[in-house]
Symmetry: D3
Subunit: 253 residues, 6 copies
């Protein structure tokens, strides 16, 4: 690993970005009309449509407890990718990668919700990738948070949820980004070209208090060392702070 | 049935449109980057992403015959509709309605392709509904045609397909529209509100020669009579002529 | 297309029938013993066993509304056809064609039933093809109607359903037939040999008032024109009138 | 257990038959047209359509070995029974009972076939129950044997299979019957009413040399003793000898 | 068949055992900690983990009847066998053999339980094969009986079930063994090498009163004759008496 | 978070272990007979049977490349847990948790294998949980490594694989352990009681060079901070060093 503090110049990223530079992020609220929250988020060429749907029922294990539930589903359009993938509905099952990602999104968003304030409601975050260029799961989490806030705010505005002692169901904010070691350099927000060619790939989910919600690192080429871990989490921390700012701007807009 | 030629005023459609008026149609080519053809088509609030993917293989029943294949898959994002529907990939199978629609799309587009000029290639048209407001299958067919032409033109430009005697694989054009009897009046291009409240619903697929490719009429309330059938097919004929003009403009654009 | 009114002789159909001639139709009631209605219908060599089963429950979406439900399932024995097809139960799913046909049968029969007079009961029409020679779905609809009437009459005879103001749940009659353009000639009731070799294939469902319930036309070879549509629907109208007469005779028998 | 040789009168069977009396058996060859062998067999009110289909391929584990394969599939029409059962194709899987029965049919028929004389062919016996009144699996085996012989004879007649040294693929004959202990009396060929009310139920498959191919006995009420086993197998032996005579007559007819 | 009473020496079994000799049987109670009954049973190299799980609910068809239910599930670890088999969970369904075996285990154990004394409880016997060397289903039945007794005794000890008139839910004992004709000799308790090479294979389930619960014989090579059947059932009777003794010892231990 | 270096006494773990203390680890090689490698590993009451199966074929995407493949499957016996879980084979699919774990095991072990030295072979690691008490995935990885080494050594001993330049397919060692924050204290190797009650749960996979292979941390209660991350990874590093020592001992044994 190259010491990221060393003076020798890092190799240029395929995208031309600086190691700590995010791709251009766009967050478009109200992208579709029916959902209680609907956000099209782009991390560069990665585009994910995130909708939040409110239903007045909860899974069996929560019935009668007065609590709500937050869950997520993830999908990729067959031609979101370079070559066409089979449609999971046609194959008759969701693949392991899909299930893994949607479990991650669900856990991440539950970490910023006080479900006791939600009543017996389920909010489902559907994250569908329209175009993929790396980082679809981190874009999904970041966009789904905005859709979730829109849906909850609507419940509050309409009086269906009443804040208790000023507290509303969503506390804090959650966003996610990928980091990796690319040709020895810790880099932020990998696109597909970088992701295919990196030694380590880590997805980081954090809240606006700088705490870690999820950390999933995988050595692709060689095992990564503690100082690489430190460099990657530091990059992620800065990237996520920026993303949380962008979420705030979008929600204020 | 009210005679559509009679002078008594027809009741106003919920959309405020004249009986023979299409919704606003937009056709956006190149909506996503990876597919050989990629079109976002809107019929009013109905929005369908149609991609055409080229693969150098054919289904088993065509292997070694030197012919190509055109097929379609259809999906609806879970929250494309007023209330959330189950994700078919999660339920583990495609419903009857989905299968019926994707078979219709495939048959319709095969009707304008000379598969012997395609070589042993499959072009898959994925039609994914981002937002639904009635007429998703007719929008899908109309948009998929444009995506198909883009994909075939790219094969020609790159020299992978060589026209024979000036003929290219796609001959003519195909478009589709729904018609119905709404409160006794034959109307063109039903939106969801009209579709839920009409007596008869018919989907019509035609080519640019004015021939019928598919005709699927269903009496919802009462059986429809021959003169209603005639009025509906006449409306469809005009509507499809307009749509084929819009396809041409989009492809010229 | 050959003008059907022209004097030049039409080519002989493989079956030797006149263009407007049905195959021999047999309707055998009480074919099996357990079902409330059980009809073996033959359109020539096409033989379909149609049973009507009454159950005292309705699907979830109708519970508590006091209405009944009519639904259909369709199957083909693996060796009903020239070459053996996979058994759908063994493959683990019903194919698109099967689902499409059983949806059509269900819709067609619901069109002649006042479900509010049925009480919270479901009548399931199982249509199983013992031998296939074209037109299985139209034979199924025509036979299932007879089985349905038998089942409903039994409910009335046993006092489980009481007619209101003289009205019973089944009003009118429903039958179906296929028509097509075969070597330029509009012909009625296609058998397999004709179906495989025709330009257009249309399934028509009508009631005894001469109204259309369903119309599904597909251009196999070339697009069909309005005058062909007119000729086909006229043929269907006559054929269905004959079939409804045969249903009546069978029910009177 | 009542000693079947004792003089005290046995209770009358619901069917009025003597303890060692078969139901009326009918074997109708050529019931459908497409299959290489097609037999409708009735054991009283139990009716099973057995078809034999020849295909020029074998399962993967036999490829290239020059041997053939015999396999069976079993199905029950949804309303073959007193109350409607779910359609297995709609449920998406075959139940344990179905799989168990079709494995039994397959094993039983393989016991009378020299597969090395069959060439690389698969013969599939489809046994579909049109009406059930007990004993469907034994009727299926008895009828499938006749369909199998018809299919193999056709292969011989057409010269596709050439007997070696006078030997043809099917040697001997196979038939099956159920026996049971009903109210203490060993009885032959249980119908549904007897089967539902008996203490022991045994299915026996034998060949024309009097050897056992399969023996499956289940104590429903109380465990059965060796002398009951002996009485039941003796009854079965006689019943099967009769059935094999009827198969021969049918094949000679 | 060689007369087993004749003086000419029988060929030595691959295992070196005498024709009427069981493999070494070990029954280890309390093998795992969570289940109400948990037994590791070995028949030689065949090792099956049998657990009994008590749940306070019954299947739909028994609800409200005050009776309990006994059911079984069977599985084989993918590498329990000489070559690896596909994992059924990964293939998405249980094979016919698995379903057949688990139905057999369930029926066999229900034969020694008075379900009216069980209350509305289900006891599930999970039989998972850790290592297979022939006879897995008979070992499973024999071991599951011990697990079942442990689970029921625990329900009695804890007062959840109160014996009525001194009667407890489990009456008698049930065990199972395989027998076969190997190179003309009737032999007891086939291991894999013998099973692969025998002419007839029979699984026998009996109770401690010497009655037959289940008898399933299959001719693998040639049909078996009545005197072979007699010899096999006699061998089974002795073997099962020994197994029931071993169950008793284990339960007393 | 309590500073782990602070002097105030940490609360006692339910298991009575020191914060940095592993449970008793046992590694039993050759647990079953058929597999090329077969290891029963226990982390306290968690017991996982890990088998390595060698097959002379590779998945389609590797065919003809001269490389091998390492993959894993994971299962849990239905009553490995406190209450019985549904059998995945009976439910017809593997759950998201199962797929996630088996993907993790596969990736972890591929990280210590040079697949180009393996030839076109697949080694499948089946990890089946016989008894669960927390940490099943980390026990599975640690045990599967030993089974893998046994299988590869056997391939070398038998000459099927020839080391190139002294290099053999497995380089280094891989082991895994869980760490967490339990009542504010970073603790090693969580059992079920601790896992259910902890704020953060992290699974760490490392190699014998001290590099990270996988790191998966999840905030259950509150987000974790960088210093907690550091404390957890330090604990894991020590625990894994111990585990790798135990693997070595077992392999030397």
């Amino acid at each position: 690993m190259t010491d990221p503090t060393a003076s020798s110049p890092a190799p240029a990223r395929p995208s031309g970005r600086a190691p700590d530079q995010l791709r251009e992020v766009r967050i478009e609220r109200g992208y579709t009309r029916h959902a209680e929250g609907s956000v099209l988020i782009s991390f560069g060429d990665t585009r994910v449509l995130c909708t939040a749907s409110v239903e007045n029922r909860v899974p069996a294990f929560l019935r009668g407890k007065g609590e709500g539930w937050i869950t997520a589903e993830y999908g990729m359009l067959p031609r979101a990718t370079h070559t066409r993938s089979d449609r999971e509905a046609a194959r008759g099952k969701q693949g392991g990668r899909t299930l893994e990602i949607q479990r991650l999104i669900g856990r991440s968003l539950r970490a910023c919700v006080d479900r006791s304030l939600l009543g017996e409601r389920t909010i489902t975050l559907d994250c569908d990738v329209l175009q993929a260029d790396g980082g679809t799961r981190t874009a999904a989490i970041t966009g789904a948070y905005v859709a979730l806030v829109d849906a909850v705010n609507e419940l509050i505005r309409s009086g269906e949820i009443k804040p208790k002692g000023g507290r509303t169901p969503v506390f804090g904010a959650v966003a996610a980004v990928s980091v990796g070691i690319w040709k020895g350099v810790p880099v932020l927000d990998l696109d597909y070209a970088e992701d295919s060619d990196c030694d380590t790939d880590m997805n980081v989910v954090m809240n606006d208090g700088g705490g870690f919600i999820e950390l999933q690192g995988t050595a692709e080429g060689h095992a990564f060392r503690r100082e690489e871990l430190d460099a990657m989490t530091a990059l992620a921390q800065d990237g996520i702070a920026t993303l949380i700012g962008l979420q705030r701007e979008a929600l204020a807009g």
